[in-house]
């Protein structure tokens, strides 16, 4: 439990007075379609959860998100270590990467629709594409910034190329890799929701847009709240896992020193 002192009372008060203002102005306004009262949004959220209508959408979104995210993590970390370690490989592909990277990744959605149709595989593919960049760039940076002595030491002790990559390059670059993974977490959610909006086929992104189009606005806001909670939850989970993983890493490093 947090001590009472660290709770930001002023901030909370301001937040809830905004909600209250919303509630009152909505109830007394003709624009209730646009601005349904907060209480109604909360009620819709509960109703949708109970009717399990929303849970199906959440399940779809989470499945696509996790598949895309993990695929891109494996792909980008592997590729990044190779490109970071072998100068020649990086020299070959640097320009291609620099050209493709600034292109907004969502522009790949139409291409993915062409090749993969409008199913799950298309959404996963665009997520993989978009998430790959930050992880890749950070991994390359991480590996390039490794203290050369570490690698030389590895060589001196007769480690093979593969072992050096796995036992030295990967752990030493892991702080950078984690940064890339954290950036990609937000990007993955952006790509999944966008793709769902563009092609339909279920998911929270589709749900929000669909509710807007049918002017069930309290449901729409409920969807927005839900996806914000989803994003927040995934971020917290990531931070939790990061602490665990880095603790393990620290432990292992200490062990090897001894």
């Amino acid at each position: 439990m947090r001590p009472l002192k660290t709770i930001n009372l002023a901030g909370l008060a301001f937040f809830f007075s905004l909600l209250l203002l919303w509630e009152i102005s909505s109830r007394s306004s003709a624009l209730q379609v646009y601005f349904p009262p907060v209480s109604e949004v909360v009620l819709s959220l509960f109703r949708l959860m109970l009717s399990q209508e929303l849970l199906g959408h959440v399940g779809k979104t989470v499945k696509r998100f996790l598949t895309g995210y993990f695929l891109s993590a494996v792909l980008a970390v592997g590729l990044g270590i190779i490109l970071g370690y072998f100068r020649l490989a990086y020299a070959f592909f640097e320009m291609l990467i620099e050209f493709l990277r600034p292109m907004p990744s969502v522009a790949i959605i139409p291409v993915a629709i062409l090749f993969l149709g409008i199913g799950d595989s298309m959404i996963v593919a665009v997520t993989v594409y978009a998430c790959t960049w930050p992880i890749l760039i950070n991994t390359i940076d991480g590996v390039r910034n490794i203290d050369r002595t570490l690698i030389h030491t590895g060589r001196t002790f007769g480690l093979g190329q593969w072992k050096i990559l796995r036992r030295i390059a990967l752990p030493a670059a892991s702080p950078y890799i984690v940064t890339g993974l954290r950036i990609s977490l937000a990007i993955a959610l952006i790509l999944v929701t966008t793709a769902e909006m563009v092609v339909g086929g279920g998911g929270v992104g589709y749900f929000i847009l669909d509710e807007e189009r049918s002017l069930r606005t309290s449901n729409m806001y409920a969807g927005v709240v839900l996806i914000a909670l989803l994003g927040y939850g995934l971020n917290q989970l990531f931070l939790y896992i990061e602490r665990k993983m880095m603790a393990w890493h620290r432990g292992a490093a200490a062990e090897e020193i001894v």
């Binding site: 901030g11 320009m95 969502v106 139409p110 062409l114 996806i227």
Partner: protein, 258 residues
């Protein structure tokens, strides 16, 4: 001549090699050429679209929205960030609201914006404004908070008024971090323009790409993506130019005052 392994030329060769390889894959029909037209055809339609004024028009539409949202966000959120960085009470009051709004994935705000602003420019401007808020705000707050106390105390000792202290001391001292926020926001802006144009628009480069795909004008779709990649690259370079010139001004000023 000795082969320089780290020369930029290697990258250029690989980059240019993509064109004939693409052409070959398409001509040999290794991939359905309906989805994967020859590079020559793509470049030809890019040429046609550029000189018919079609792509320049779409890009101009997108740029207009991007610029409006981006600058509006900068004008609102940088001063707000400075205020939040300087005054603890402002920070405490707004903190909870910010923490509640920040996890919302940007595309989820698109339907809400459509509801309020329709499908016009205002919708896209709002979406960009909302999304750019976080990197600009948080980086400015950080920048202001990390200013060397001695600087501020010196300003106070020399009897600078609050306003002069802000413009002459705080703004320059926090500017590297503010620039970081601006750079992150630039990439986000481009992504959000494309997203909002794909979900609800009748023009703009994002719409153009998706629409070309839906009409099966695949070569035009690739041409649009190519122009988007070039646009992204150009904007990034332009920002770097701006960045170095701003910092040069900053450096010049400090030297002059000394």
């Amino acid at each position: 001549m000795k082969w320089d392994r780290e020369s930029k030329l290697n990258g250029l060769i690989v980059f240019l090699a993509v064109i004939p390889v693409w052409e070959l894959i398409s001509r040999l029909e290794l991939v359905n050429p309906l989805f994967f037209p020859p590079m020559s055809k793509i470049l030809w339609s890019l040429y046609l679209l550029v000189f018919s004024g079609d792509i320049p028009y779409q890009i101009l539409m997108s740029l207009k929205r991007a610029a409006m949202g981006y600058f509006l966000a900068a004008v609102v959120f940088i001063p707000l960030g400075i205020a939040m960085g300087l005054f603890g009470w402002v920070h405490r009051i707004l903190e909870v609201v910010i923490e509640m709004l920040r996890p919302i994935p940007p595309p989820a705000i698109v339907p809400v914006a459509i509801l309020f602003f329709g499908l016009g420019d205002a919708m896209k401007v709002f979406v960009i404004f909302f999304t750019c808020a976080w990197p600009m705000l948080l980086n400015t707050i950080d920048g202001v908070r990390n200013i060397d106390r001695v600087l501020m105390d010196t300003a106070a000792t020399f009897g600078l008024s609050r306003r002069r202290a802000v413009t002459r001391v705080i703004l320059p001292a926090a500017s590297p971090q503010i620039m970081t926020g601006l750079r992150i926001s630039l990439a986000i802006t481009l992504i959000l323009v494309v997203i909002s144009e794909m979900v609800g628009s009748t023009d703009g480069i994002g719409y153009f790409i998706l629409d070309s795909q839906r009409r099966f004008k695949v070569d035009q779709m690739y041409a649009g993506m190519l122009s988007l990649a070039i646009l992204g690259y150009a904007l990034n370079q332009l920002f770097l130019l701006f960045y170095s010139s701003v910092l040069a001004w900053h450096k010049g000023l400090t030297r002059m005052e000394r």
